[in-house]
Amino acid sequence: MSDYNFAYLDEQTKRMIRRAILKGLAVPGYQVPFASREMPMPYGWGTGGVQVSAATLTPEDTLKVIDQGADDTTNAVSIRKFFENTAGVATTEETEKASVIQTRHRIPEAELSEDQILVYQVPIPEPLRFLEPRETETRKMHALQEYGLMHVKLYEDISQHGAIATSYAYPVKVAGRYVTDPSPIPKFDNPKMNMAAIQLFGAGREQRIYAVPPYTEVVSLDFEDFPFEASKADHPCDLCAAEDSYLDEVILDDAGNRMFVCSDTDYCRSRRDAGHMGRLSEEAA
């Protein structure tokens, strides 16, 4: 064990964060202000998600941390180690075995269940921020449901690119009320937000927490004649041949060769273990 209080934060702070989480769950999509603490990592490295995870974890929990879908990148490894040291909880890389999953910019491919909690790291919680810089005004717009401006952004996308070019952090409307930033997940993941697990969003620098309760309707904004489309690279995974997963493009050499691999490493590994073979399987092995 460590000399830290369980999960690093003191109990009063966790209480404060839990209150914000409960309020967020009660008002789906509403950004609840909270007194974000200094964490032993820089802003932008998931301080909001870490605080929400710390307030959510119990000693019996099993934690999984992913960064852009991967379990083995710097951010994921360091946060997983952080909670191994400060909370002593079990950790896993397998989506099904985790009870709390902290994520940066992806939703796992495997379907989540009712007994799981998904914690998102959020850089900018306000979906209207780049359209309206004043916080007083954006709050008023949320309060009065004045969301026309959000569609102006999508209109501009279509008029400039011929299609809605926003491909990540694609705005959604939660429970028919609040327009919400889904954190910078690819829009491929948006439809998955109608899920059985609890979704919690933490923005450390911006001091906001919001939440989507299980089975809550999450609708991606669009136009009647330009409907929302969950897009991904039009390839199968080169390692596990999955056609249904979100892919990362990896440049292999200076000759322009590239491969597409599942961004969800756990999903890809479990498929390969089950015997699925992709175009580059032998070389990779």
Partner: protein, 256 residues
């Protein structure tokens, strides 16, 4: 006939100083009212108080709403007032950049009010934006250009299109021709006059330019030190001014 807008004893104070006070008038459908006066006479304060941009300290601004008939907009709920501001009301600012989103294309600017009242069909929004560009004499090919690439006169016309696209019944205009050169001014006035006649708009125009009200306004209100000193038909007030200040105002116009 019910007046479209009834203003009763409207007053706005800035601390102990008077912004405007004791203003009362009725505006009927299709009528254009001009408000003239020198800088600091309270005409912009009055306009902003009527349009809900400033909260008046006393008085009523009763608007004949489509759904509920005459309602005092000062005491109505903020969502309802803001909804009115996007549908039945329009506000044309003196400086086009106050009324436009400079980082959004002309089409997006015009479409914003449509999307704000729930239009979710891109083709439809774009068609109406193109139609309105035509009506304010901006080439349709400029639909995807940003207002920052437009001349001052074009920006002002774009602002008018953006405001009128939802078919408002009452337009507030704050010096709509200020800062434009005379030939551009003339075309803008022509355009405004046509639109007002065609759409049967009521309008309240604040200006210090007597020629503008002579062309556009049916009725005239002269303000001085926050109070209305003279009202009447435009031609009557301009040709036979009664109040000393109005006489000064009329005689101060430079002749070419």
């Amino acid at each position: 006939m019910t007046p479209l807008l009834q203003v009763k004893n409207l007053a706005k104070m800035y601390g102990a100083r008077i912004g405007c006070t004791d203003v009362s008038f009725d505006l009927y459908p299709g009528e254009v009212m001009g408000i003239v006066g020198e800088s600091g006479s309270g005409k912009s304060t009055l306009l902003n108080s009527m349009a809900g941009h400033l909260t008046p300290d006393r008085g009523e601004v009763i608007f004949d709403t489509r759904a509920d008939g005459p309602v005092d907009t000062v005491t109505m709920s903020e969502p309802a007032r803001r909804m009115l501001g996007r549908t039945d009301w329009a506000f044309v600012h003196q400086h086009a950049r106050d009324g436009l989103r400079m980082s959004v294309s002309a089409g997006g600017n015009i479409g914003e009010r449509l999307m704000a009242v729930g239009d979710r069909n891109y083709g439809n929004i774009r068609a109406r934006a193109a139609d309105w560009l035509g009506r304010v004499e901006i080439a349709e090919s400029r639909i995807d250009d940003r207002p920052s690439a437009f001349s001052g006169g074009m920006q002002q016309r774009l602002q008018i299109a953006r405001n009128l696209v939802t078919g408002p019944r009452l337009v507030f205009m704050d010096e709509p021709t200020g800062g434009l050169d005379v030939s551009v001014q003339a075309r803008l006035l022509d355009l405004l006059r046509n639109l007002v006649r065609e759409m049967g708009l009521s309008a309240i125009i604040v200006t210090h330019d007597l020629a503008v009200v002579r062309l556009l306004a049916d009725r005239l209100m002269v303000m001085k030190d926050g109070r209305v000193v003279e009202t009447g038909l435009t031609d009557q007030v301009l040709d036979d001014p009664q109040h000393a200040y109005t006489q000064l105002l009329v005689s101060s116009v430079l002749q070419v």
